[in-house]
């Protein structure tokens, strides 16, 4: 009757509950970093436009940048969580040699998809070929940058990322102004692209220095893509959720402004929204700092007690400590962010006056600020759910966000321009409530989830 003991040993060792401790980060910096950087770019550009550079060419430029950022964020966002998970697993198994191959393979796939989508879209946009080619290069440079950022974040090389963006930003400003002056629209786009190319190149160099050249086949990549399909859906749904209200505004008769062919903008909506997003930088920064320290510490403690043969009471105590830390930090973030958002909402006229913005957008900005406050909170909830491996819950939350944002934005068109932007606010509010309920019960039955349900996912 040999063999029984041996097999048992194997079974006892394969808990399948190690997942969360593989030290991967759905870090806020890669979830919201590109989004905020894009919003900043667009806000700066539109303010620059509003301050006097207004021309049809500049409008085309701004629209093309907006489309490129939207397409790059949605498509990179679709794969960034699954890529992070793959990297974390490789890191856990001490196989960093697969980083560079995985990067090059995902990059190739991404650029291919983006090229196909861009070409399809450009058939509907009657612009000179040079402009379209420049726009394609811009799209590819931006997409590559976000992907490279995901990989470096997994290696926690935040400093390289920060410097790449500072440098890239400066290059973009100088080159696009110069390019615009000397070579018109094409020059402006290529100048702007130079900034992202600089960024992309810097990050790729860092990746190569860190992980070497892509010399082998990236093992387990396909398996990861299949096994962690919820992460792909989450990434797609959530990032589409971020853009769906703007996309709807680009094409709805109430708000759209046709730039050329299928290339639309919604200046009354977009600019105020991009600006409103920037209001939550303090909340996200605080979250980044707090998650990296307080919450992550208690999270690690919980798992190390659990795996380190702690008693049930010790595990419970660690779970409660983690939960309380999370709520305490949320309260802290709210204490900072609520007054700030309130100030911006009340002080909107002053801001609009100072930046010479279109007064028709002032309600969009106010709804946007309130919505962004909710948005920041449900983004944090999403990240915590992913930390705790509540993938199905995170998936539901992302789906709630994209569907409510689409539905209420659409409904709000009928309520008149005074309510423009309220759809986003309502959607973020609903998503926040759903997320808070989910997270609360997730934290309450974390033991059950970790031992019972999570190994099955």
């Amino acid at each position: 009757m040999a063999g029984i003991g041996f097999t048992l040993r194997r079974m006892l060792n394969e808990g399948g509950i190690l997942g969360p401790l593989k030290a991967f980060h759905y870090a806020v910096i890669i979830t919201s970093g590109p989004w905020l950087i894009s919003s900043l770019s667009l806000a700066v550009l539109s303010i620059y436009g509003a301050l006097g550079a207004e021309s049809h060419e500049f409008e085309i430029f701004l629209a093309l940048v907006g489309y490129a950022l939207a397409a790059s964020l949605i498509n990179v966002g679709t794969i960034h969580q699954v890529a992070s998970r793959y990297l974390a697993d490789r890191l856990y198994e001490n196989q960093p040699e697969f980083f560079a191959p995985a990067f090059s393979m995902l990059l190739a796939g991404l650029l291919l998809v983006q090229t196909v989508l861009a070409v399809l879209f450009f058939t509907q946009v009657p612009l000179p070929l040079a402009v379209l080619v420049a726009s394609l290069i811009m799209l590819l440079a931006i997409s590559g940058t976000w992907l490279a950022m995901t990989f470096l974040s997994a290696a926690k090389d935040y400093r390289a990322i920060a410097w790449a963006f500072v440098g890239g930003g400066l290059v973009a400003i100088v080159a696009s102004i110069n390019g615009g002056q000397h070579f018109g629209l094409t020059g402006q786009i290529l100048g702007f692209t130079c900034g992202y190319l600089f960024c992309f190149a810097t990050l790729v160099v860092r990746i190569t220095i860190e992980f070497g050249l892509p010399l082998v086949r990236p093992r387990h990549l396909q398996t990861a893509l299949v096994r962690f399909w919820p992460l792909i859906v989450i990434g797609f749904a959530y990032n589409l959720g971020v853009w769906i209200d703007k996309i709807l505004c680009w094409y709805h008769p109430n708000t759209r402004k046709v730039v050329v062919g299928a290339l639309h903008v919604a200046p009354i909506y977009d600019n105020a929204m991009y600006l409103a997003y920037l209001s939550i930088i303090p909340a996200l920064a605080l979250f980044l700092v707090r998650v990296e320290t307080d919450f992550y510490d208690t999270y690690r403690t919980y798992f190390s007690i659990l795996l380190g043969r702690g008693t049930l009471n010790e595990i419970e105590a660690a779970r409660i400590r983690m939960r309380d830390t999370l709520w305490r930090n949320t309260a802290l973030i709210l204490k900072v962010q609520i007054p700030l958002s309130a100030l911006l909402i009340l002080g909107a006229p002053a801001i609009f006056h100072a930046l010479n913005l279109n007064w028709a957008s002032i309600f969009v900005f106010r709804f946007g600020c309130l919505g962004a406050l909710f948005h920041a909170l449900h983004l944090m909830i999403l990240i915590v759910l992913l930390y705790l491996e509540y993938r199905i819950e995170a998936l539901s939350l992302a789906l709630v966000f994209v569907t409510t944002n689409a539905a209420f934005t659409w409904l709000a068109f009928d309520w008149g321009n005074a309510y423009l932007g309220i759809g986003y606010t309502i959607a973020c509010g609903i998503t926040l409530v759903v997320g808070a309920v989910m997270l609360s019960s997730a934290l309450d039955e974390l033991d059950f989830h970790v031992f019972v349900r999570q190994p099955l996912l």
Binding site: M1, A2, G3, I4, G5, F6, T7, L8, R9, M11, L12, N13, E14, G15, L306, L307, R309, G310, T311, L312, E314, I315, D447, F448, F451, V452, R453, L456
Partner: protein
Amino acid sequence: MQRVDVCLLVEGAYPYVTGGVSSWVHRLIQGLPEVRFGLLELLPDRAYAQQSRYDIPANVVLRQQIYLFETDARDGVFREPDSSFMAQLSRLHADDATLGCPFVKTIDRLAQTARLGAFQLETARATWQFLTNMYRQRGHDISFIDYVWNWRATHGPVLRLREVPLPAAGIYHAMSTGYAGFLAALARVRGGTRFILTEHGLYTRERDIEIVQADWIYDEWAGRSTRTDEPFFKRWWRRQYRFLGKMAYESADRIVALNGVNHGLQLAAGADPTRCAIIPNGVALARFRDLRGTRDWRDRPFRVGFIGRVVPIKDVKTFIRAVQLASVARPIAAFVIGPLNEDPGYAQECVTLSEMLNLSDILQFVGAADVRDWLSQLDLVVLTSVSEAQPLVLIEAMASGIPVIGTRVGGCPELIVGREGIDQSFGPSGIVTPVASPQATAAAICELANSPLRYQAMSQAAVRRVEHGYDEQQLFDRYRSMYRELGVSPRKPN
């Protein structure tokens, strides 16, 4: 599913592993060709079900594999057992006295009405709640993660067995207690079948030894100088197997031991004497009768053989040391006959030991070989095992007229000096030695080699003893009549 006469339940052995139980099962099936057998193979997991080592006889009309520890839980259905069931379960766990024969029925009925399977055990909120309540109520102060895994590993297979579709059979014949015995007990209490338990070794005791040595069971005392108690999870596992054993003993219609020693242990473990019997191993005597010629070693070295797998439990090293000691006293030739690949590390140690003792000219590692060919060559068979039930190789040696030396373990002594009554009157058919004693073994070898008269007497006693009590035909006849008593009367073979 096809109805069979007798359903054999074998845990982790036949037909995938060679050895005592497997060959016994194989011979029984061959010896009762008129019986239509089913074969329930209980295996740890799918990986275990490799190639069959035996040609399955034609009267095995049904085979079914059961994987005890397979974690195919992903395919299960999420379902919550109802709360009244959980309350009953609490009452059961509160009172150990209820454990026993009616308990098989209780478990079966409860799990049936609650529709609680192995998957629900692992995934339902109610069972999780139950588990944490048990942990708290009993005031456990022990690693919770081990508590969870051990709970699953002890309860899961039992519930998984409940879900196995049981073939219709007149008799469930289990080769051990443990999971095989539990499954047979389940079939028995569900009705329509009888239950025979044949124990070769004693499963519960074998598990006890395994558990004490197991490093995969967490030991909260490990690394501390004082230990006040048996490690919590080891006690849990031992209780688990005792519990399974008890259910088998209480449900079985017949409980068979191979020898008197194990019979006594079965009684001590709670087996009902009126349902117990001793049926020793048997061999096909006709195959060995022509090997019984007189052996004369005056002009050549005395040939001593160890026949068996080269594994630690056989303690081959003691044999090698004994050969060295005996070779100093008189010329001998020694042979280790048996596969070296079951525990290659240990086999290598044995070869190295032999070289270190300068036995290269005297001791030969033959590897796996035909036992009958070698029995015609040997003068003496030695078995130095630290654990045995009733080794076939000693019976075969005795059937060939070869005296044997065996250690004082399991059924070896009564094989050598006889069990009782007439069996003892034949006189000793060899020498019994203490475990792990090269000196005593060497002395016994020399004694037989140096006194041909004593050798002759033992050789004759050996032949008489096996002819009297270890004929395979007797074994077949006894099982045939036991099957008939329990209602299985197969048609005559054509």
